[in-house]
Symmetry: C2
């Protein structure tokens, strides 16, 4: 079975998806990633999809669930390297990546993570408690 | 045809080989890498082979020539993520990776590059001109 290597770079784990994801490969990837996050205490995950020429609803769902799992383990996920054609297709098909954040490339993805951490707001700066408007009664 | 994505991280290009290298894929990889080095002015190349369960003489030669090409373009190459079994097999078979340097993982590979650059000695500190013994007549 093909496995996707997980590289560690400081407190970020880096995955580069180059193979066709099957159900089995995707599950193995999520398992391995969850293991590595807990083992290393990584705070961020960058998933590179430069090699993917097609992102369909199946892959979109995998990316979204991977990000959700990582979030539960206290790691933020950014998907980088999406091809223009992929972005267009996703929008045209009305597919969503859930709450997965994206960045143009690895460098911008890392910068996005570091900025979010510097803001001290974790996953979603825009909905961080400190930034919420005070509730009106 | 499968292509291997090249990620940029500051002045280092990062390749993760996950697919079986054919002649064609290998040539395409070398072409793309050479293009990216000249386009970005990268000073280092890190090739991750975590996913490779077998490194035979063919792959060894590809790694060696890739490193030589990069060297001509003024970029140092480090191969990271070699599995213990691969290392053992390489030695047992008497295969050599040429002058390719290796490091345990991505972080150590990057550290190796930065250390070499800090020494200001480029690819091979031990044979850098400034360190050579003065020629005797």
């Amino acid at each position: 079975m093909t496995s996707i290597p997980i590289l560690k770079l400081d407190d970020v784990l880096l995955l580069s998806i180059q193979v066709d994801l099957s159900d089995q490969t995707a599950l193995a990837m999520q398992d391995a990633l969850a293991e590595r996050i807990t083992a290393t205490g990584a705070r961020g995950v960058v998933i590179d999809i430069t090699a993917l020429e097609i992102v369909d609803s199946f892959i979109g769902r995998i990316l979204a669930t991977t990000a959700s799992v990582s979030r539960l383990l206290d790691a933020d996920t950014v998907v980088v390297g999406m091809r223009p054609a992929v972005a267009i297709t996703l929008v045209e098909l009305g597919l969503s990546l859930g709450e997965v954040r994206t960045a143009l490339n690895l460098e911008k993805g890392l910068a996005l993570l570091r900025r979010a951490w510097a803001d001290g707001a974790g996953d979603s700066p825009s909905i961080a408690p400190s930034l919420r408007a005070p509730e009106s009664r």
